[in-house]
Every structure is written in C-alpha cells, then in structure tokens.
Symmetry: C2
Subunit: 242 residues, 2 copies
C-alpha cells in the first residue's frame, strides 16, 4: 500500500511485512562441458525496487495457508514447479535488506529431480542460472543463494539429501554425479563405491539401466526416508511430546 | 490492537504479525538424582490468550533490530539471560497456532553454560522446567520445545554443539555428562573416551580440575569453532559469493 503522506520515519514504524521465497536447485547439464552441474530458476522483477533484476521466486502469505503451502503456491505461480522436496531454510529479516517498509522473508529450498525440472516454464521472465554464478540479484538474494549452497554442501556430508535429486532408481554413477555437481569436484569412482557399500541406506534392485551397452549398470534404490534428511518438524516429533 | 467493529473474516484478513521466541537449554542438576539434566526457562503469560499458562520467552521485532538482535533483547528483558550461543531454529506460522490475528513466530534457540544459567532471574513469572516434561504450554509451544529437543539430539551426533554447554576448559567426564543429559541415557566412559580420542577437535591442556582429589582429572579445550556448529549464515558464506 502506498501512503501518500507518510514520511520516512512513519514508514519505518510500519510493522514488517512477511514474504516467502524459494531457492530451487536442480541438476542440469553444463552447456559447455555436458557434465551435470547445479542450476536454479530465477524470476525477473517487473516492478520497483530492483525492476528488471533477477530474484528468487516468491510472494506473500495468504490467510489460510501454512508457511510451506504459501512457499509451494508462490513457486508454482511464478515458475510452474511443484517439487516433492521442499524444506524451510532460514528467515532473513535484517532492517537494511530492502527499502522501507521492511520485509522479513522466510526462505524455503527445494531440490528437484530432472523430470520435475524439465516441467519448469522457460519464458521471458523465468530463466535458469548456474547456482554458483547467478549474477547480481535483487535485494540480499545473492547472500541467500550462497547460504543455501553452503547448507546443501554441508548436508551432503552427513544426510541423505543427495537422493532428493534422483528418481526412485539410479545407478551408482548417477549418484556420484549428484555428489560431484554439488561439491564441485570429481570423486574417485572406486572410493565412492566403497564408501557407499558401507552405508546401509541403499540397496541393489534386480534391474539394470536401459540402453544398448554391453554391461548395463545395475539400478539401486534408496531405503531411508527423505523426511529424515529434512530438518522440518514432523508429526513424529509431535508424538514424542509429553 | 483491538478493533471493536472487526468481525471474524476481517480479522482473518489482517496481515500476519511477527514475533520472536527463544528456546533456551541449560544443564542443571536434577533435584531427585543430582545428575545433570536438560532444563529450559519459561515465562508465565500475564494476559489473554493463555493467561497464567507458561510460554517460551519472546516478544516483537522493533524497527531497527535484526532478527537475532530482537531475539536476544526479548530474552534479556523476560529472563535476564544473555547467551553466547543463539541460533535461528525455525519459523512457525500455521494459521491455527493462535487466535486471530495470526502470529508467525521466528524461533531462536540458545544453549547456555552453567555460569550463564545461574544469572537467570528466578521470580514469580520466570521458572525453569525440565525440557522433557514442561507441562502444557501456551499456543504450540510444546511442539516447538519437542522440535528443538529433536534438533539438539540430532546435532549432538555430528556437530560440535556439545561444547556450547561447557566453559572454555572441561574434563572428559564433564563432556560425557553433557552427552548423557541431552541424549537421556548413560554412556560407557571407556567407549566415550576412545571415540573422543579419534575426534580431532579437542586437545588436552596442562591444567587439572581443582579440588581435593588424589588424581585430579585433566582439563581439555575445544579447538574447533562454535560458528561451525551453527547453521546460521555468516560472513564466511558471503565472502564465498561470486
């Protein structure tokens, strides 16, 4: 709402408004090398501030929505994406992050599988960028993307989050490719295979990757739960409650 | 603000308001067994809704504060505590969590060391409760406490968060006591010691615990950074940014 008679100090005293934004990561082939790398979709702003700059997809919280529902709806409206894995990342609310009135953004993040990423609209005002070099974004969105990348790399080390990028069945090479894209370095295939074997949360299936190869690679399945990889409160914790 | 003419649907359309709350965990001796256990301070509500019920300490976001500053100020005002370790936990904002107008709470959590916990006011409207059985709290605060406990236990398994409960120097027995209090079960001292030795982030000092014992135990020091245990965005991530 524009208040024609409000001076700066009155606007500063307006209560902060609340918005939801989402960082979406997907693996896509790098057009130069053909190798998988990490990408995210951004939306071009059509009004001030930061008009014509790229920004994380987002929008307001409506009356009857939960925070996660609002994040999912805003994401679908701006990009057409409906990721299966959507988790709260962090709330950003510093007083200097936007011109008054102040906006507190609760940021969600999503990892999307290649089939989901393919459904995203590519149009004039929605475009995919390499996660590591998205250019100069609106507001503090570069900070938010950098933080989300840091959290993702961190989480790959101990949690089962890598599986959120893959379909139900995958080869060990596909899984290694996820790790390589997120960590930004190549991994030794033999070492990677050995470490995985000692992890208990994947199992071989009886199926093999389709294709004309002489020795098609075996498909594996993740047996843990993706909810366990998420830090979100779930009904499980509520049940534990006294 | 009470609007005398507002009907329910008008109130539902008010924009959500924003509040900060904090879950503070400290180790204190259980009065029955003398062993360390996990406690948290709560504040008695003096107005409706939930008047006279216990609640997490909290309050509003003021114009020039960051979210963390607002959490720290509200905590100091309600309990007198100023914890060194204060981290954002999660934003809770379901439409059913409070009577209209809706409140979105950004929850911080803090781990306080025994010397800090001793400084907390104990007065009629501030009291410490056992974290596992705080009774029936206001709003969804039981869910929030259960979630914070779950995150704490989870974090103890991989992060250096345990050291946030201890002073600069500590014995291995004191460190084990932290783990026992948080995980809620006894650990084998010899196994615990062996596992710690293989961790690289503590080192022995030349000092020993004061007291009249025949063989006073050696004091150790944590050599990692507490910031690494925290999930908060820090200047480090901003530097990594392109």
């Amino acid at each position: 709402m524009h208040l024609p008679f409000a001076n700066v100090s009155e606007r500063e005293q307006q209560p902060p408004s609340l918005a939801l934004s989402t960082v979406i990561f997907a693996l896509r082939p790098d057009p130069r090398t053909g190798r998988s790398s990490l990408w995210l979709p951004l939306v071009r702003r059509i009004r001030q501030p930061y008009r014509d700059r790229w920004a994380l997809p987002g929008g307001p919280l409506l009356a009857r929505e939960s925070l996660a529902e609002a994040a999912a709806r805003n994401l679908a409206e701006t990009t057409g994406l409906a990721p299966r894995y959507l988790e709260q990342l962090y709330a950003f609310g510093g007083p200097e992050r936007s011109p008054a009135p102040r906006v507190v953004s609760i940021v969600y993040w999503a990892l999307v599988q290649p089939d989901e990423a393919a459904l995203a609209r590519e149009e004039e005002n929605v475009r995919w960028f390499e996660a590591g070099s998205p250019g100069e974004l609106s507001f503090d969105h570069n900070d938010i993307v950098a933080y989300a990348l840091w959290r993702l790399r961190n989480k790959m080390e101990y949690a089962s989050i890598a599986y959120a990028f893959l379909g139900e069945k995958f080869t060990l090479a596909q899984l290694r490719e996820v790790y390589e894209a997120v960590l930004g370095r190549e991994l030794d295939p033999a070492n990677f295979r050995r470490q995985l074997r000692s992890a208990s949360d994947i199992e071989p299936t009886d199926e093999y990757l389709q294709g004309g190869r002489h020795r098609p690679p075996r498909l594996y399945r993740y047996t843990g739960s993706l909810a366990a990889a998420s830090g979100a409160p779930s009904s499980t914790h509520h049940l534990e409650q006294p």
